[in-house]
Symmetry: C2
Subunit: 463 residues, 2 copies
């Protein structure tokens, strides 16, 4: 009896082992990643000294040219409530502020970076725009995040992480700069409560490449936030362009725990193909983002405000197209917004955001029909024939991206007709198509990792 039992348990363990080896389990997101994907629309506000200089921003030149007079920074009507309300009114759920960008100037009361609001005459050196911004976010129910640029610092003399010079003095200043960066990260991650995301633009190369150790500080102070990104870790990934779109399919999984801070030979080929598409067999949950500035139309591409550049604001149809190819392609859309030298988001931008948010609501707030559940096959029967031109699919990504191949069919007066053959669904897949008169819709999942968990299938008639 005893030996039989042992044989039985051993067999069980072997089965479990074989199962563990053989079955790929789709990685599941952290709560922070879920929040990130549920946000769908994320605003990033860029604000820095050169907003006030009256000159067109030239990134390459600015990176190697300190702003002559930092006291030009004087936003006499600063109102972060107005910024955040504009984003909130448009349906944004998350917003990020550049606490430092490439000048190195810090928009808060830093105790480690003297090149900060403390140096200004503005508000008698007592201004803290990061605090104002975070407060405004909380007031408007928006999750705040902070962008920290440490790769460039035109004031201190840092180019692509490296302090200028190559002697002992430069080494000492590099060590000092790294400490300063760590100090800023400590301040920014500890002073403003829970943050949805800390965004190191251009990455935050760590000690292994002579940079600061910011990851451990983030992990200590913001264990529930999104970390983006360094050579060890990225919780989201860049979507490979600044067009505000990703191609379809864009999988939320990725083969490396970091996105593109290293292994350029893999990531950078074919126009960032891996970043854009991800990898359905990737072991790491790391959804892509789609990023673009609102002022990216008509030859413009402006992360910062410039006077009289309203012509670059995307028209509504382009923003809707962007919405379909970002949110509708399983990514969050990061939209760059540009507060002006007065300290306000310009009225033209505010209006366009409102129009856009209204249009998204108009199209998607009233589905004609909706269903959800677990399984491989779903049918929505309409009470009566209806004109359909949008379908929105969502997986319950808390359980991972399980769907690998699916088919959408509509029952027309002449029988079942293929509407779309797809692969990834993920957080959201939006399919827009020419009007079809349908009596029913069928979703068939032909390939999946485990049982598909469909959070929502919804049908829309958009006029």
């Amino acid at each position: 009896m005893k030996s039989t039992l042992i044989i039985f348990f051993t067999a069980c363990l072997m089965l479990l082992y074989v199962d563990g080896q053989a079955q790929f389990e789709s990685p599941i997101p952290t709560q922070a990643q879920l929040d990130w994907q549920n946000a769908e629309l994320v605003a990033v506000f860029h604000y820095d000294l050169h907003v006030f200089d009256g000159k067109d921003y030239n990134q390459a030149k600015n990176r190697i040219t300190p702003i002559p007079d930092y006291n030009i920074f004087n936003p006499t009507r600063l109102d972060t409530d107005q910024w955040v309300k504009a984003a909130s009114d448009a349906g944004f759920k998350m917003a990020i502020l550049t606490a430092t960008h490439e000048t190195g100037f810090a928009l808060y009361q830093s105790d480690v970076n003297p090149y900060s609001l403390k140096a200004l005459n503005w508000r008698e050196g007592k201004g803290d725009i990061v605090r104002d911004f975070v407060n405004s976010c909380r007031k408007h129910g928006i999750q705040p995040g902070i962008y920290i640029g440490i790769r460039w610092n035109s004031f201190f003399g840092v180019h692509d992480f490296k302090v200028l010079g190559d002697d002992a003095f430069a080494e000492n200043r590099q060590a000092y700069y790294n400490k300063m960066c760590e100090g800023m990260v400590e301040e920014l991650t500890s002073r403003y409560g829970d943050l949805a995301i800390i965004w190191f633009d251009g990455g935050a190369h760590g000690p292994e490449v002579g940079g600061p150790d910011v990851l451990s500080i983030f992990e200590r102070n913001q264990p529930n936030g999104i970390f983006y990104h360094n050579t060890q870790r990225a919780d989201i990934r860049w979507g490979g362009s600044e067009s505000g779109t990703v191609p379809y399919p864009s999988w939320g999984t990725y083969p490396f725990p970091y996105s593109h801070a290293t292994n350029g030979e893999v990531v950078f080929k074919n126009d960032f193909q891996l970043l854009k598409e991800g990898d359905p067999n990737g072991k790491y949950y790391m959804p892509a983002m789609s990023d673009a500035p609102l002022r990216g139309f008509n030859g413009g591409h402006e992360w910062f405000w410039e006077p009289n550049h309203e012509k670059y604001i995307y028209p509504l149809d382009r923003l809707m197209d962007m919405y379909y190819k970002s949110v509708g392609h399983n990514t969050s859309l990061i939209l760059g917004l540009t507060p002006n030298a007065e300290g306000l988001l310009p009225e033209a931008d505010v209006r366009r955001l409102k129009e856009w948010g209204d249009e998204i609501k108009r199209r998607f707030s009233s589905p004609l029909a909706e269903t959800s559940g677990a399984g491989n096959k779903f049918i929505i029967k309409l009470k009566e024939k209806a004109t359909i031109n949008h379908i929105v699919l969502q997986e319950d990504i808390r359980q991972g991206e399980r769907v690998r191949a699916f088919l959408l069919e509509g029952k027309t007066s002449t029988g079942w007709k293929t509407i779309f053959e797809g692969s990834v669904i993920g957080h959201k897949f939006i399919h827009a198509f020419d009007d079809l008169e349908l009596k029913a819709l069928r979703l068939r999942i032909d390939n999946a990792i485990g049982e598909p968990q469909i959070k929502s299938i919804s049908l829309y008639q958009v006029e």
Copy 2:
């Protein structure tokens, strides 16, 4: 008749011309230079971030190593009145503060250098030690001066005037740094009223060598001050050592309008001989200074305070010797004083200064006899025989250093006896010698440029 007149005038013009060629006129000082020499004792207070770091100052290392945390600067008991009163009580007439030294950190509310008191938590970023200091000087009847260090900046990455690196970025930062320096000079020369001196330590290389143009700013804002120094101008000159002494003779005139910012091949030879001695035929009035830190004894040489280094405070006899070889050698003595991390001049230093001032007063406040006047020969007859061991000579240097060679003789019981054969008198010459019983003293000037103008001959009996 007409031609006779022409010949007469021509002859006159020729005579004038010959006269102008032949006669050397001793250069005369500006009012600022007069004030400087009349001050005789000038305190220079060094204060910077590393006073607070608890480590021994190592200039070479500090120059290439930024101070890790500038918020260590926290002088909880700062009292510039106490500093200045200590100097005033000791007889000092002028005092200088390092507004910036080699860290680059500015002890005031700069609008162009963020690495300043604005960056600190101390006094909520509102401290202005330059203002405190200048106010204390005016309160105690001391002429204030400001020391500005721009040759080194360990924070910004400046070494011997040059910003680190050698690419376009470095060039841009150099241009920025130069502007920052000009901005600081503008602030420091315009915000604090009339200043006795602006002291650029290590010089202020001008635009001709890629540096800032500080001279024109000084000349506009402080036309009545001492400028020390750059490649164009120096109103005083370094005395060639930091021993607090110069050799005898040390002429107050110099062959160049600048001291040692250029022409190193002439100035730096023979252990700075030209700086020490000057040149009796020099066309420029430029008296030497003697500089030393009070804490320069016993192997120490400390311009900045360090904890528990009272052992380096010069004893009284060494200070008196220094006084004879500086003030008594026609130079002003610049004494370095070191406020501590609490913000006070240490008690031991204050006591020594007081002792020293008292001793100077004891020796020199009551001459046994005194005379003055113009001419080549002076006799002081004593009412009765007296023991003399100190003679102090002063020219009226408003009319230049005229005396080139002089003889001091004393009438003893056995007749006239040579006491000293000298060359320069200038602002002050002190001669100390073994006790002599004298009935009279004779000063004979054997060589002079123009008629000697003797401001004072005084005799002392020091016990």
